[in-house]
């Protein structure tokens, strides 16, 4: 992964839905090796931004480059983790088959080779689910399903990993495990994740991209009450992570 390459570049991007501007004049550059969170209020355009990066939506104005090419052309070099909520849990499918989907598009017919199966197994091991390969996808817990979808994205062998709310529907402890996995993965790929949970992600990501029709980038260190208030436009509760009580001078009954 070459440093100082720009993996994601948006220039003067506008997106309208039924004439209503969802994103306005977005300029954004994300360098190779970044670990950034896209945050913002509901309806602020987080998902739209993600879909623009994936090429599932096209900007009405402006230009988007992913890994130096158009989003469509870079697709196979990008891994994407959706939320599992949109999947049909009655679908008869094993965990391994879900992960193997990450290897589609590598040959014309979509048949899997021995290498593909190895890749799926090692991606599952990376999210600590190696023993669940032959389980039915629907038998897993929410957190496990989310990790299977991360494994599927990893199985694409991506240079850029995009995640949509990886910590939604997951209990806090599992969320922390997920974040640790992502931190390790960041050593070899650029990671961008969407989250509504700014407190949670600000501990691990290196920068925060605030989306509320307009897009602003902050390094995590400069996050403070004023900035967050600006993003969410109202009062909020803030949990400080940089400050924790030591066990010694802190008593529990």
């Amino acid at each position: 992964m070459a440093q100082n390459n720009i993996d994601v570049q948006l220039k003067d991007v506008f997106f309208f839905y039924n004439g209503v501007p969802i994103l306005e004049d977005v300029n954004l550059e994300i360098k190779s090796g970044a670990f950034a969170a896209i945050v913002g209020p509901n309806g602020g355009g987080k998902t739209t931004l993600l879909k623009l990066l994936l090429g599932l939506l096209k900007p009405d104005k402006g230009k988007i480059l992913i890994l130096g090419k158009s989003p469509e052309k870079s697709r196979l070099r990008v891994g994407y983790m959706a939320q599992y909520a949109h999947l049909d849990l009655q679908f008869p499918v094993t965990v391994k088959d879900v992960v193997l989907m990450g290897r589609l598009g590598r040959n014309r017919l979509g048949w899997y080779s021995r290498d593909d199966i190895h890749a799926a197994e090692s991606s599952l091991a990376e999210v600590q689910l190696a023993n669940y390969a032959s389980h039915r996808f629907s038998e897993l817990s929410g957190g496990q399903r989310q990790r299977v979808l991360i494994a599927r994205a990893l199985c694409c062998d991506p240079e850029l990993l995009l995640l949509d709310e990886p910590t939604a529907n997951v209990d806090p402890q599992m969320g922390e495990t997920l974040m640790k996995i992502l931190q390790t993965l960041n050593n070899r790929m650029t990671i961008l994740l969407v989250s509504h949970d700014i407190g949670f992600v600000s501990q691990v990501v290196k920068s925060v991209i605030c989306v509320n029709r307009q897009v602003l980038v902050h390094p995590t260190s400069s996050l403070n009450g004023m900035v967050i208030k600006e993003i969410y436009g109202g009062d909020f509760c803030m949990v400080r992570h940089d400050h924790s009580c030591s066990m010694k001078n802190h008593y529990h009954d």
Partner: protein, 282 residues
């Protein structure tokens, strides 16, 4: 049962044998395509295609009798209408932003109405109940060839593109991101569905098509852990329902189509009931 066996090999009953052959061979595409229809949740679209088939049959009769093009079998009209409807309905469900179900519901009814109007302007009397409810007496030698052709086509396509079709049914968005032309595969799936529906119409009629297309996969889905298992189980179930339906209808002198559907439907509901009771007793 032995009685039925004798009946089956009675030279006078070649129609029954033919129905049995066609029913058995057709179980393969019904099981495969039915599984895709159920997992992709497009049984409503399959229903609309089935009713558009009636428009094609009406047009076929009109072309054959009124226009005097005698080689034009109404079944050709049915196949053409089914494929046409599949593409139109596919495009609507892909590109209509809203009210997709209303538009498809309208097509559903227009297909039916067109069939009746075509029959109105065609001279002669036609018993349309055989098209609506199926009639094994209608099954001909050419249907046998058509079934064999469909067997080969569906088996080949679903084996060749198994992983891609699976991906398009399970998670279309992700399939698209892996560079799969999801729209094209979706239309292909609907075209295969439409040809399968034409065959089903011969056996159980337009009105009951959806039941035989969806009940076997619905039962199979309860037991199968993988997509191909669901296809295999539903193909077997489909054959079993067809055989037992034909046997019962022959024995008691009943219409074959409704008997097949009744057996399949009752089996499905009973299985659901047993599962429910099992869960309660746990």
């Amino acid at each position: 049962m032995i009685d039925l066996w004798n009946v089956l090999f009675d030279p006078d009953n070649s129609f029954l044998r033919l129905a049995l052959y066609v029913g058995t061979l057709a179980s393969l595409p019904f099981g495969i395509i039915g599984t895709y229809v159920v997992t992709r949740r497009i049984s409503y679209l399959a229903g609309a295609i089935a009713h558009c088939v009636f428009g094609g049959i009406g047009a076929g009769l009109y072309i054959q009798i009124k226009l005097g093009i005698t080689w034009f079998n109404p079944m050709y009209g049915a196949i053409a209408a089914a494929l046409f409807a599949a593409v139109i309905i596919g495009l609507i469900s892909l590109y209509a932003q809203q009210r997709e179900d209303t538009v498809i519901g309208a097509l559903w009814a227009i297909g039916m109405a067109a069939g009746i109007l075509f029959i109105d302007i065609t001279p002669g009397y036609f018993d349309i109940t055989s098209y609506l409810f199926g009639d094994i007496l209608l099954i001909s030698q050419s249907d046998l060839y058509m079934v064999i052709g469909l067997d080969i086509v569906t088996a080949l396509i679903s084996i060749l593109f198994f992983n891609k079709l699976f991906a398009v049914c399970f998670d279309e968005e992700f399939a698209r991101l892996r560079g799969i032309n999801a729209d094209a595969f979706y239309i292909l799936l609907l075209c295969l569905t439409s040809i399968t529906v034409v065959l089903l119409v011969r056996m159980v009629g337009i009105i009951m098509v959806i039941a035989l297309l969806t009940i076997p996969p619905a039962i199979a889905g309860i037991f199968a852990g993988k997509l191909w298992q669901m296809m295999a189980i539903s193909s077997i179930l489909c054959a079993v329902f067809t055989w037992s339906g034909l046997a019962v209808s022959y024995q008691f002198n009943l219409s074959s189509g409704p008997t097949i559907i009744m057996i399949a439907g009752i089996a499905y509901l009973l299985i659901l009931l047993v599962i429910k009771l099992k869960n309660i007793c746990k």
